[in-house]
């Protein structure tokens, strides 16, 4: 290859990779994805709550109850899994999603025929340390998934949120936009600012500029980002260890309760409602205080009235 040809090729590749997709293209991509979601889960059960088992075991029970992972992930699809990997902390401190749970979900997606499973979070601490010390990198890699970097703006693309009240545009990680389906896997924690961090708050890790949220009515922005035209097909709330105080970072194991629970639903409002009620048994937390949950209900993203849903409770 001539030097000139090589340089041309390199320049072209550079151009192609930095080329930004337009909003129109994104909307098209999201629409097709949404269709896939809607034809996805039509199981009788809306929400599954499990208690008393190990993380992977509880997920196995829950997903079986919902009709199996195959309802959500089709053969050949690319899957993105978004756990909470915010902090450079070990699993015992419950700052991040349980690595065994994330590993199990990756394993099941691949077993269901997913062509690729990618995992990322826009960490607060140094992402390389957070990925490693959370145990998630090792668990994901062992299960056949791939960790993606997320700590640089080039990995994000602009999207519009037509329904957003305060948040009308955002930069969202390309893995969320490019994957066929994505699964939201938050950890249940107390949050000194937003009061609770569950499925909705976990969306802050898919966006680039979190400062905007904090500057412009945090609770409203959290609800707004959930109107993303490509919702997660499932929300899997890890409550195996729950940070009850000093969240979302926590200081020591004394902040953690070993509650051994798991909540799974496609309804983001319902699953956050259920998890908050569960959390309320550890520390007083009135549901009305956690404003983003009711604001999301106002966006018609789901229901806070669990009596309207078919809820399955499993004690192991």
């Amino acid at each position: 290859m001539k030097r000139r040809d090589f340089l041309k090729a390199a320049a072209l590749t550079g151009l192609v990779t930095t080329f930004k997709l337009t909003d129109g293209m994104d909307l098209m991509a999201q629409k097709t994805a949404k269709k896939a979601v809607k034809t996805g889960g039509t199981s009788g059960t809306d929400l599954v709550a499990v208690m008393g088992g190990e993380p992977a075991q509880m997920f196995q029970k829950a997903i079986a109850e919902l009709g199996g992972i195959g309802k959500y992930v089709k053969k050949g699809q690319t899957v993105c899994i978004k756990p909470n990997i915010g902090w450079d902390k070990t699993p015992e401190l419950a700052s991040n999603t349980n690595p065994d749970l994330v590993g199990e979900i990756v394993r099941q997606c691949i077993a269901a025929g997913a062509s690729e499973v990618v995992v990322f979070d826009n960490s607060c601490d140094d992402w390389r340390k957070a990925y490693k010390n959370s145990g998630i990198e090792a668990a994901v890699t062992a299960a056949g998934g791939k960790m993606l970097p997320a700590k640089e703006v080039t990995y994000y693309r602009d999207i519009t949120l037509p329904q957003g009240v305060k948040l009308k545009t955002a930069k969202v990680h390309q893995a969320i936009l490019d994957s066929d389906v994505w699964i939201n896997v938050p950890v249940l924690k107390n949050h000194e600012g937003a009061l609770m961090t569950i499925s909705m708050k976990n969306h802050m890790g898919i966006v680039w500029d979190r400062g905007f949220f904090h500057r412009n009515d945090l609770q409203q922005c959290i609800a707004d980002i959930c109107t993303l035209n490509k919702p997660a097909v499932l929300h899997v709330v890890d409550a195996y260890r729950v940070m009850k105080t000093n969240g979302p970072r926590g200081r020591s194991v004394s902040d953690v309760a070993n509650s051994k629970a798991l909540f799974v639903s496609a309804d983001i409002v319902a699953v956050d409602t259920a998890a908050t009620k569960f959390f309320g048994q550890l520390v007083d937390m009135p549901l009305e205080s956690v404003k983003h949950i009711s604001l999301a209900q106002d966006h018609h993203l789901g229901t806070m009235d669990l009596s309207k849903l078919k809820v399955k409770k499993i004690n192991i």
Binding site: G14, E116, D126, T154, E192, F278, L282
Partner: protein
């Protein structure tokens, strides 16, 4: 021949490793495990590693300035520049020539460096100290190029689904240090391109000290009259310009033991040999050139100072509609104990700056005063100090940042948190936030009930370590509502007390 090859091999290894340490933003090579920076002369001296200093002096006393030929990265950079110059020079110009020692300039510079250092100004030492000057060149000039190259490769690889490379943010660390690095690069690079090791033999304080020793070294170079035919090939190949083929003398104080002369001499008239049996040959000094050279040197330093001081800006100040604040004391890095300790031991090599995984260490401008210019300072505009990270204290070769264990770091307060309620979004907008408390590792910033369900920050400065998580993440604009004030002398951070020790049992789902 063998000695030259050995010199080349060792030199290439040193240069590659030391360069990589300064560009390696991804932490691929653990700098704390590669002791090449720790055996540099001035860093070892300032770290009070008397073993290393003695070893280097002894090495020089026995074999000459081996340090300059295989260990000093600035020397190796000059050799590389000279070699590249060969490719561009016409055949006739590919030669060095003898020039007399500029003794006044050499010793004058050394005296100036020592004098200012003793007077508390380490900045001149920092500017001329070869390892640190090299470190700055790489950190400020090469590192951004390396990162841009990485991003280009990452772009291509990521496009095809391979994420073993990842994008990294490139930003200007410090204008003043960039200018100093650029001047160093152009000035020393020019001298190396035209004249070889002129810097080492006129300005470098380490070169002068080691040269004083190598004058008397056990092994040194000598021209044997009986074999010499005065062809002058040795002088033409001497990058130290220290062989006078007319008078058949070698100025061993300036010789950097490159073995080029012994390799090119066809008569084997110049030899590297045991020399303690004879008296050391006297060196001749010419006064003529020294004045012009000294002027050039002073002019350069003058320009450096001017260029740097033209960059004077207000420090750490934010202007805008909400209440601005000014950091009164600079935030000296972990392990520095105090700004004074840092100022006395740091030569601003910027290894800590290059290695900091959180990108919070940057070269200071005038925060420590002119005397401490370019020494590292904590800046929370691109990140905050990782609670459990002690990397900078492990890589510092000067002992300016003393090694800390994680527990020792947790018990050290580098600075303490300050809160300006009138800037806080909870106060101004009456909306939820808590970003500061969210990032606080000790809950020195905790959220307490405010109006309705709102919570607002409350401080407990005694347990604050000064990591800057709160300052970095505070969303208030343009001036932040929370920041860290520096401790001129680091204090002890109190341990936080766990309040929620009781185990809570849950038996039902709660709904």
């Amino acid at each position: 021949m063998i000695l030259k090859r050995l010199r080349l091999a060792l030199g290439i290894i040193s240069l590659l490793i030391l360069t990589f340490l300064f560009v390696d933003f991804a932490g691929l090579l653990p700098a704390q495990k590669v002791p090449l920076a720790d055996i540099q002369f001035v860093p070892a001296l300032l770290a009070l590693s008397f073993g290393t200093v003695t070893a280097l002096l002894l090495l020089t006393l026995l074999f000459g300035r081996i340090y300059c030929s295989v260990l000093c990265p600035m020397g190796l950079f000059q050799d590389l520049t000279g070699r590249v110059a060969l490719l561009f020079k016409k055949k006739k110009k590919r030669k060095y020539s003898y020039s007399p020692e500029k003794r006044w300039l050499r010793y004058g510079t050394l005296v100036a460096v020592l004098g200012t250092y003793i007077a508390g100004w380490s900045v001149l030492l920092s500017v001329l100290e070869p390892y640190s000057a090299f470190g700055r060149m790489v950190t400020h000039l090469l590192r951004p190029i390396y990162m841009a190259g990485n991003n280009l490769i990452a772009g291509v690889f990521n496009h095809f689904g391979n994420f073993s490379f990842y994008h990294t943010e490139i930003f200007l660390l410090s204008t003043s240090s960039l200018v100093v690095a650029l001047i160093t690069f152009v000035f020393i690079g020019y001298l190396a391109w035209r004249y070889g090791r002129t810097f080492c033999n006129t300005l470098c304080p380490v070169g002068t000290i080691l040269g004083f020793v190598s004058r008397f070294s056990m092994f040194r170079f000598k021209v044997h009259e009986e074999s010499c035919n005065h062809c002058g090939i040795c002088a033409r190949n001497c990058k130290a310009s220290c062989i006078d083929s007319k008078s058949e003398t070698v100025d061993n104080s300036r010789c950097v033991t490159c073995f080029n002369c012994t390799t090119v001499c066809t008569k084997k008239a110049i030899r590297y040999e045991f020399s303690w049996k004879k008296s050391a040959p006297a060196t001749t000094i010419s006064e003529d050139d020294s004045v012009a050279s000294r002027r050039r040197f002073l002019a350069t330093i003058g320009v450096t100072m001017l260029a740097a001081s033209s960059q004077v800006w207000a420090k750490g100040m934010h202007l805008g509609t909400n209440k601005p604040w000014i950091r009164k004391s600079p935030l000296s890095p972990p392990g520095s104990h105090s700004a004074a300790h840092l100022n006395a031991h740091c030569t601003a090599c910027h290894l800590c700056v290059a290695q900091c995984p959180s990108k919070i260490l940057k070269p200071s401008f005038l925060e420590y005063g002119v005397e401490g210019m370019m020494q590292p300072i904590m800046d929370f505009s691109h990140g905050f100090c990782n609670y459990d990270c002690t990397l900078c204290t492990e890589v510092c070769p000067n002992g300016a940042l003393k090694k800390l264990t994680v527990d020792q770091k947790h018990a050290t307060q580098m600075g303490y948190v300050k809160f300006i309620k009138s800037n806080c979004v909870v106060f101004t907008d009456e909306t939820f936030c808590g970003a500061c408390s969210e990032h606080c590792p000790t809950q020195a910033v905790s959220m307490v009930p405010y109006k309705g369900d709102l919570t607002i920050p409350q401080l407990n400065t005694a347990i604050c370590v000064g990591c800057g998580g709160c300052e970095y993440v505070c969303p208030a604009k343009p001036a932040k509502a929370i920041y860290v004030e520096g401790n001129p002398v680091h204090r002890k951070a109190e341990q936080f007390v766990d309040t929620n020790k009781k185990e809570v049992k849950v038996e039902s789902f709660g709904f």
